[in-house]
């Protein structure tokens, strides 16, 4: 029993310990549960953070379709731009035919194409076949893996009208000149893209007819197709050569291939000839103009007008009609004035009636064959036909040519005054301010003129078949023409000559191209210069004295070819021919024959 009591005494408080142990165990379990709850809460918090980050990334995507087009091989081609900061992954594209009824939708996977922040990725969807119909509009949507999307539209040009303008440069066109046509097209669409390059079209018409050499366009530069982005403007340029009569209306109609009906622009222009009054000797080209109602007069004078008993000098005048009406010439008067100390006129041309206009030989008529040549006063030589005036067709020219015996002077006349006056249906017009010269004891008769032969002996003949001409009227645009320019000593004395070294000068009018000397027998030192205005200057120097000793008269012919310019109607050009030299006299006398020769170029 003692032992029992002892044990009881020693076991006092054990239950408390046991209870405490159980409590500790329970508390440990509770603590574990609490820790687990905290840990799970932490996981939830972590998940929230990750979701927030994901949402931020999604919000940082900002994609747009900056360009969409369809290639020539009917493949979609997009450029997708991500203006956000997070990488977007393109996963799908939707294409909807918005015009079809019902609408038709196509969906394609894009296989997570990455588009980094602030980067554009081209050629998206370039493996997707897409054929755009001309009468259908489409919408295109790309979707990212995060669920963001961007949408744009595609429209064929046939469904929209674009602002257009057409500019013609220059506003009025000179015949035979190039015209620049600028066609401006603006893509002002906001919701739709034009998927294919735009091909400009230009039709042009002329009000003249028939269409041909003198009435036509020749396109020289045509533009190529261009893709026009939204908000952009494209300029297409044509260069076309145009030819047409004065006043021809040019109509340009520009549009786009497959454009919406009514979407075009029309601009008109005019062909207008540049008016250029050519009233002076220095003028090198005549261009007819409706407002210039007066003839152009160009003399052909000898120099020197050598005194002779048997020979005849060539006098003439080329008259150009620059208007579109027939001009009638009823009278032509040459006036040679040389007074002596007492005011008496030298008889530069004899006022004889028989032989007509000559002391020894009569005047010889070259052209025209009708009318009457007389010398009604000292130094006056006149052609007249008031009943049947010479008619000069519109925009052409005619020459009045005559050969006459030189008169008599008491002393050398280095420079007497000459002039020519023409009386026409438009009034009278004179050309003065020229000079002639004459020796008192016979001498050279220097002349320059056009001929139709390359044989010098033939070129000296004016009757019965005339080979001396003051104009050429058979030139055609673009067709090379052979010119034979003659420098002649027409007097019959073998002792009077034009000295070697004399220069023949030919001014080929501007616009004539491919000027090439083909024959220059008797000349040397041939030079050819083309000036910036397009005219060509030919010089040739006599190799030996002209006018003897075995043959006199004598001539040398300079032949050259030149291609006349393009014209739209008969147009008169002027070719000046001059000489610069001296005679072989002991006291050299100037050789200064000159002539203005009209060249009528036809289309």
């Amino acid at each position: 029993m003692g032992i029992t009591n002892f044990n009881r005494e020693h076991r006092r408080g054990l239950s408390s310990v046991v209870g405490a142990v159980f409590m500790i165990l329970v508390m440990i379990g509770a603590l574990n549960v609490a820790l687990l709850a905290i840990k799970q809460q932490d996981k939830v918090t972590q998940a929230v953070v990750e979701k927030s980050n994901s949402n931020v990334g999604k919000l940082n995507e900002a994609i747009k379709i900056s360009e969409v087009r369809v290639t020539a091989s009917n493949k979609l081609n997009m450029t997708v731009t991500n203006t956000g900061g997070a990488t977007a992954k393109l996963v799908s594209v939707y294409i909807v035919n918005e015009t079809a009824s019902p609408k038709v939708q196509y969906r394609y996977d894009l296989n997570n194409i990455p588009v980094d922040g602030r980067v554009s990725v081209p050629n998206v969807g370039s493996n997707l076949a897409l054929t755009i119909k001309n009468n259908m509009k489409y919408s295109v949507k790309v979707v990212t893996a995060a669920g963001n999307s961007a949408t744009t539209g595609i429209t064929p040009i046939s469904q929209v009208a674009l602002p257009m303008s057409l500019t013609i440069i220059p506003p009025t066109v000179v015949p035979g000149a190039n015209v620049t046509v600028l066609f401006t097209v603006t893509n002002n669409l906001t919701d739709y893209n034009l998927p294919v390059p735009l091909t400009p079209t230009l039709s042009h018409t002329l009000s003249c007819s028939p269409v041909g050499t003198g009435c036509q366009f020749i396109d020289k530069i045509t533009p190529s197709s261009q893709t026009i982005q939204k908000g952009s403007t494209a300029i297409f340029q044509w260069v076309t050569w145009v030819n047409g009569p004065d006043g021809t209306v040019l109509t340009f109609n520009a549009s786009l291939t497959n454009a919406k009906p009514g979407n075009f622009v029309i601009t008109k222009s005019n062909v207008q000839i540049v008016t250029q009054a050519q009233g002076s000797f220095q003028a090198e080209q005549i261009v007819g103009a409706d407002l210039l109602v007066k003839p152009e007069v160009f003399p052909i004078f000898p120099g020197p007008f050598g005194e002779s008993t048997t020979s005849l000098a060539l006098w003439g005048v080329s008259i150009a009609n620059p208007v579109n009406q027939t001009m009638k010439v009823s009278r032509v008067v040459f006036t040679l004035t040389s007074p002596d100390a007492q005011g008496n006129q030298y008889q530069l041309i004899f006022p004889n009636a028989s032989p007509n206009c000559g002391q020894n030989v009569a005047l010889q008529v070259l052209y025209p064959s009708h009318g009457t040549w007389t010398c009604p006063g000292t130094g006056i030589m006149m052609w007249r036909d008031t009943a049947n005036p010479e008619q000069i067709a519109p925009y052409t020219a005619q020459s009045f040519l005559v050969r006459v015996q030189p008169g008599i002077v008491a002393s050398d006349e280095p420079a007497f005054i000459t002039g020519v006056t023409v009386f026409t249906s438009y009034g009278q017009f004179a050309k003065t301010g020229y000079a002639g010269n004459m020796r008192d004891n016979g001498g050279v008769i220097g002349n320059v003129y056009l001929t139709n032969t390359q044989t010098p002996a033939t070129a000296l003949i004016s009757s019965p078949t005339n080979h001396m001409f003051g104009n050429m009227s058979s030139l055609r645009s673009g067709v090379p023409f052979l010119f034979n320019v003659t420098l002649a000593d027409l007097d019959s004395s073998t002792s009077t000559k034009i000295k070697s070294g004399a220069t023949l000068i030919v001014n080929v009018p501007q616009g004539f191209t491919n000027v090439n000397v083909t024959s220059s027998a008797g000349f040397t030192g041939i030079t050819k210069k083309t000036f910036t205005d397009g005219s060509t200057h030919i010089e040739a120097t006599l190799v030996s004295d002209l006018g003897g000793p075995t043959t006199s008269p004598d001539a040398k012919i300079l032949s050259f070819k030149a291609t006349p310019p393009a014209v739209v109607r008969p147009t008169v050009f002027l070719m000046h021919t001059l000489t610069d030299g001296v005679t072989t006299d002991a006291t050299p006398f100037s050789v200064d024959a000159f002539g203005g020769f009209a060249l009528v170029v036809r289309p």
């Binding site: 209870g19 409590m23 549960v33 939830v44 929230v48 969906r107 979707v143 669920g147």
Partner: protein, 128 residues
Amino acid sequence: MATGVIGSFLVAWANSSFAVQSLNITTDAANRINLIKESYVIEDVWFNGTSPNQHEYITIRNSGDLAIKVTKIYVNNTQVWSTGQTITAGSYGTITINQLAPAWGADKAQSIWVLTERGTEAKQVWKS
């Protein structure tokens, strides 16, 4: 003796209770995490056909890390579908709905409301 018995019972009951609580905590946490991680978008809604043969094609992209199960779809606040369709992570699924009542008209705004099994929802307006 009594203390031992009572204590043993208490400990046994406590462990059992704690185990249940731990399981609940773990399950709740997992559900919440899954709910949080669930992410999807209505990628496209395509209205097609004419009444009475109208169809709606609702394409849902699962942009999250877990598979989702779409359980209900409402159009203009009317439940039109409840078949249920699972969409794996990173993929998409298109759910076809036949004939809404009332019929939708062209170029009208239609409210699309998608619910998943976990309880997330997406509501957007699409033009028919």
